[in-house]
């Protein structure tokens, strides 16, 4: 299948991705994906308990078969143009093309037919990475239309489709005992299919009579617990297709509808099955204007802990829930509208970018939705390049999509865009040589040299260090790399600075020679010193003029020169009940200061920690935390362990090839009356709403706590807008803007029922890490427990009658206690079990920076039964079928000693084999006669294949 063609069709404003376009090809906006999804849905076989469910289940995927990944453009649209594609007057659906989530990791069961990984795959978020086609250079813009121009690029680096959510994450209907009371919504089902097919709302006669009533009323009915059944039809027909798409991700069952309504109450003492068997979906954001709803930001990019913002601070306090947003701003996207125009329309007062939620007063004026100022609309904004006519400004992509990217004109640059520059700083002391990672690193980099993001100006440099610092001169006049050793590490200087940071394309052969030579040269070492501080200073000096990225490989405690650290971990204290804040905080501010210097020169420092002993990550991590870098940790890394090698290779592949943004800043604006309170993530806060991110990468997530300063009762919606200004690896200045719009709630019940439990957990985890740093671990643990009891007592207030023997929780927060329990057992916050300090600190760093979906998976991993996998329904994905086992509660009662289970925490896949498994199962799965003869080390992917 020609992915390229399919993709082209799917875009509203299409531009040829790689070939230089001869003319702007404005293909009519055909809606291919909806029909495709429809096909999938018909192949879907529902689970066995079909009594509860409608006979046909349109379960739409938003991820796609792994086969598509291989294509040069892994765009998530597999539809053939010849399919029953329905042309629609609106091209909205293509703009709302589902967006792949997070870094690619292979689906648990998705790997069955394709992958060649060992079964206990260890991977730091890098499974299934494909080489990335280069993004089309700016020069390929079509000739300018009257000063306005659009291009909906397939974003080059965004081909990483995630196939993980595919099979296992499809929710299947909840077990009967939870929701016995619901009836089947035939009318709404029809409506939904209709909307998905046609990409716009169904005519009103499809809906039930309440529709008009519902939508004319300013607020949804509240306090009405019978709401789900009563309103589901009207609610559904009133939904626009964005939410429809979201909903279709849930199995379309009656109970699914009611869950989305979100007014159920769960008695936690009586309900044992509260975990949905598929993905836990974020609550839908229900706005009063359907158009807004359709255009709202994807929940994978932007999420708020409360999908309805309390109108006053006192109401927020009453709910006892934290208010904040989690954002994954630089996420790999399948589809992104890129706009190049001479004027970027922004509010003159608050500098907000124009977005779908602004109010057009007339064709010449718009009202800012953040500060409510009335602004002039430039005449060219009315120009629609699709029809080449002037008219309604709402046809512009800025108005149609809450996630958009601008190619910035020159006033957004303080200096010419920097080239991609990478410095690799490698520890070659004795412990590093023993770990043997140098070989893996050099091999991986050698194979990925061509894939490094950058253009013809890309520069690289290499520094190795033990107790001295070694530089490699790679001038193109030389025939081979030339090593220089600086022994005087107290007064660090850079010898012959011209030939150290060299142009990659000009010196490619020398770089290759060096990478081949290095592993042999340092396969053994007896030098125990590690001068990390001086090496970092040297790297800083190399990059200070341009900015760029420093990648550090460290395997032992730095003990030479500035920045050396004492060995302060007491192994006997690993199981202690409390970890004092002093242990979690740095002993020196050397690394923090260095990070601030780096941040000022647009340099980010990324850490790869491959340690066998204590390295004091608590002190080291500052260098990445404040420079916008990232941290990877491979505890007890050894070259002898093939799983370690595999994990490092995959992580490196993803790390080296993923998209990168240089010299970037992110600003978060919010509607007047709200303000940003605290930021979480890796960055330096330059002013109250501006984050300085020397580098931004697609795997970084951020959190912000928000406080309510003024009453919001005179407005209908509040908005958050995150704008990320960065330099692409091709030297283009770009601005990516995400806007999230949320309604206002005026009573407590509404606030609690609209809560987003996963987002709350994500924010709480970040706040708890701060608490650990400021006071102590036991304080943080106590705070977790208080959150749950506060939430439950707040909910009790909204209930008129509550039998004393019950523990009621709203549907939207029913998993909160479970997640809190999981957090208390997480490496970051657990006590009692032996936990190395570095592991704990790393887990805390992850809490701060992981995007929400991965964070949730690491907090509450997915557990699936594998032994009876053939009993579960299959999901057809193109030519392949994938089974869909349900997710299990992480509880011993769900584990049978005769069973085999698969646990996926996002980084590792673990297979748990019950000790009583039958010989038949053992031989089928592991090719061994009995449990005793299973070799835990050579379990390969084939066992899964056998299951299949």
């Amino acid at each position: 299948m020609d992915h390229y063609a399919a993709q082209k069709l799917s875009q509203g404003f299409t531009q040829l991705p790689q070939k230089p376009p001869l003319a702007t090809s404005h293909v009519p906006p055909e809606l291919v994906n909806s029909s495709q999804q429809h096909n999938i849905s018909q192949n879907f076989i529902p689970p066995n308990d079909s009594l509860l469910k409608p006979t046909s289940q349109p379960t739409y995927n938003y991820t796609f078969p792994p086969t598509n990944q291989v294509g040069s453009y892994g765009v998530g649209i597999t539809a053939k143009p010849s399919g029953p594609s329905i042309s629609s007057p609106v091209n909205r659906v293509s703009q709302e093309e589902p967006i792949s989530s997070g870094p690619p990791r292979t689906n648990v069961l998705g790997i069955i037919p394709y992958s060649t990984e060992p079964a206990n795959i260890i991977s730091q978020s890098s499974l299934g990475t494909r080489t990335v086609p280069s993004q089309p250079p700016n020069a390929l813009q079509p000739p300018r239309q009257p000063s306005v121009q659009y291009g909906s690029y397939p974003y080059g680096d965004q081909t990483h489709l995630q196939n993980r959510t595919m099979a296992v994450s499809r929710p299947s209907p909840p077990s009967p005992n939870i929701q016995p009371q619901y009836v089947q919504p035939t009318a709404s089902l029809r409506n939904q299919q209709y909307s998905n097919q046609y990409g716009h709302r169904p005519p009103d006669n499809f809906s039930q009579p309440q529709l008009n009533h519902l939508y004319s009323s300013p607020q949804y009915p509240q306090d009405n617990l019978s709401g789900p059944t009563q309103y589901s039809g009207g609610y559904y027909s009133g939904l626009s297709e964005d939410v429809m798409n979201q909903m279709s991700n849930l199995s379309v069952t009656q109970s699914g509808y009611n869950r989305l309504w979100g007014k159920d109450t769960y008695d936690l003492l009586k309900c044992r099955d509260i975990l949905p068997s598929g993905r836990v979906e974020p609550p839908a954001i229900r706005l009063q204007q359907e158009l807004y709803e359709a255009n709202n930001c994807s929940s994978e990019i932007f999420r708020c802990t409360l999908t309805k913002i309390p109108e006053t601070k006192s109401l927020l306090d009453k709910s006892r829930l934290p208010l904040g947003v989690l954002i994954h701003p630089f996420k790999d996207l399948n589809q992104l509208s890129v706009i190049q125009c001479s004027v970027i329309v922004r509010c003159r007062a608050c500098r907000t970018y124009i977005n779908p939620f602004v109010y057009f007063i007339d064709t010449k004026h718009w009202k800012c939705n953040l500060c409510f100022r009335v602004n002039d609309l430039p005449g060219e904004f009315e120009y629609d390049p699709l029809t080449k006519t002037y008219g309604d400004p709402s046809r512009r992509p800025e108005i149609k999509s809450a996630t958009i990217e601008f190619i910035a004109p020159s006033e957004y640059m303080v200096r010419p865009p920097q080239p991609a520059a990478y410095v690799f700083v490698i520890d070659i002391s004795r412990l590093g040589a023993e770990a043997g990672y140098l070989k893996i690193f050099c091999e991986t980099l050698l194979s990925q040299l061509d894939a490094l993001p950058g253009d013809s100006r890309t520069a690289v440099a290499f520094i190795t260090f033990d107790s001295s610092v070694h530089f490699y001169s790679l001038a193109d006049i030389q025939s081979q790399p030339h090593q220089m050793v600086v022994v005087d590490i107290d007064d660090m200087f850079v010898p012959c600075p011209d030939n150290l940071l060299v142009n990659l394309s000009e010196c490619l052969s020398l770089v290759r020679d060096l990478l081949k030579e290095l592993p042999n040269k340092y396969s053994e070492s007896f030098e125990t010193g590690s001068a990390l501080g001086p090496a970092l200073q040297a790297a800083y000096k190399l990059l200070a003029a341009t900015g760029g990225r420093i990648t550090v490989f460290q395997s032992c405690l730095p003990n030479c020169g500035s920045g050396s650290l004492p060995a302060r971990e007491d192994p006997s204290q690993r199981t202690a009940d409390n970890v004092t804040q002093a242990m979690l905080n740095p002993v020196t501010d050397f690394y923090k200061k260095l990070a601030l210097d780096c941040s000022g020169q647009q340099i980010a420092v990324d850490l790869f920690i491959l340690n066998s002993q204590f390295v004091d990550l608590a002190s080291l991590c500052g260098v990445s935390r404040f420079s916008g870098g990232c941290i990877y940790h491979f505890p007890l890394f050894s070259i002898k362990n093939s799983q370690h090698i595999d994990a490092l290779q995959r992580t490196l592949q993803r790390y080296l090839c993923r998209k990168i943004g240089f010299e970037s800043v992110m600003r978060l604006r919010c509607t007047r009356g709200l303000s940003i309170h605290t930021f979480h993530g890796n960055f330096f806060v330059r002013s109250t709403d501006l984050l300085s991110l020397p580098n931004v990468n697609p795997d970084a997530g951020f959190g912000m706590q928000v406080s309510i300063d003024e009453n919001l009762n005179d407005i209908q919606n509040v908005c958050f807008q995150a704008a990320l200004l960065y330099t692409s690896s091709k030297g283009e200045r770009r601005i990516r803007v995400h806007t999230l719009c949320l309604p206002i709630a005026s009573n407590l019940s509404d606030v609690l029922h609209s809560a987003d439990q996963q987002c709350i957990i994500g924010l709480l985890a970040k706040m708890a890490v701060d608490r650990c740093h400021q006071s102590s671990l036991s304080d943080a643990r106590e705070a977790f427990v208080n959150v749950v009891s506060d939430m439950l007592s707040a909910y009790r207030l909204t209930q008129s009658s509550n039998p004393s023997s019950s523990l009621l929780a709203p549907e939207s927060l029913r998993l909160l206690p479970l997640y809190i329990l999981a957090l208390l057992k997480h490496v970051a916050f657990r006590i009692g079990q032996s936990t190395r300090l570095d592991d704990r600190v790393y887990a805390m760093c992850q809490m701060k920076t992981l995007p929400l979906q991965q964070l949730m998976q690491s907090i509450y991993p997915d557990l699936y039964p594998v032994h009876n996998i053939l009993d579960y329904p299959e999901l057809s994905l193109g030519d392949e079928t994938v089974v869909q086992p349900p997710r299990l509660h992480l509880s011993a009662e769900r584990i049978d000693s005769q069973g085999v289970y698969l646990l996926d925490d996002g980084e590792t896949l673990m297979i748990y084999v019950g000790h009583n498994i039958t010989p038949a199962l053992a031989s089928a799965l592991f090719n061994v006669p009995s449990f005793a003869s299973i070799n835990p080390n050579i379990v390969s992917y084939e066992i899964l294949y056998y299951v299949k």
Binding site: K593, R686, T688, S707
Partner: protein, 136 residues
Amino acid sequence: MPFNFPALSYIIALFGDAILIFFAIFHVIAFDELKTDYKNPIDQCNSLNPLVLPEYIVHMVINLLFLMSGQWLSLCLNVPLIAYHINRYRTRPVMSRPGLYDPTSIMNADVLSMCQREGWIKLAFYLLSFFYYLYG
């Protein structure tokens, strides 16, 4: 001499307090600038940090004079602030240079408002004690 020394200490305290008032005003202005985004937190911390210890020392010297001259009431009024200063400096973030303010945490809304409040309260305290010393 026993009569003159307290008077002298009050005169010195008056001058010292004038200096402290200036410090407090500078402090308030600096944090206001931070809040309204005029200044880079790194620069602002670099200009604030060197002033922290001088302020504490001036305040201590005044109280040392009170102690030596036996002005117990004036001393008692100042003891809580001394204790606060000692505690504040003891719990400062890990830093290699003297000072209190860390550019990475200062932009946190809690820290910022706390520092702002601290500035205003100190300013009021120093002003009140200025008049107290003047008429004391």
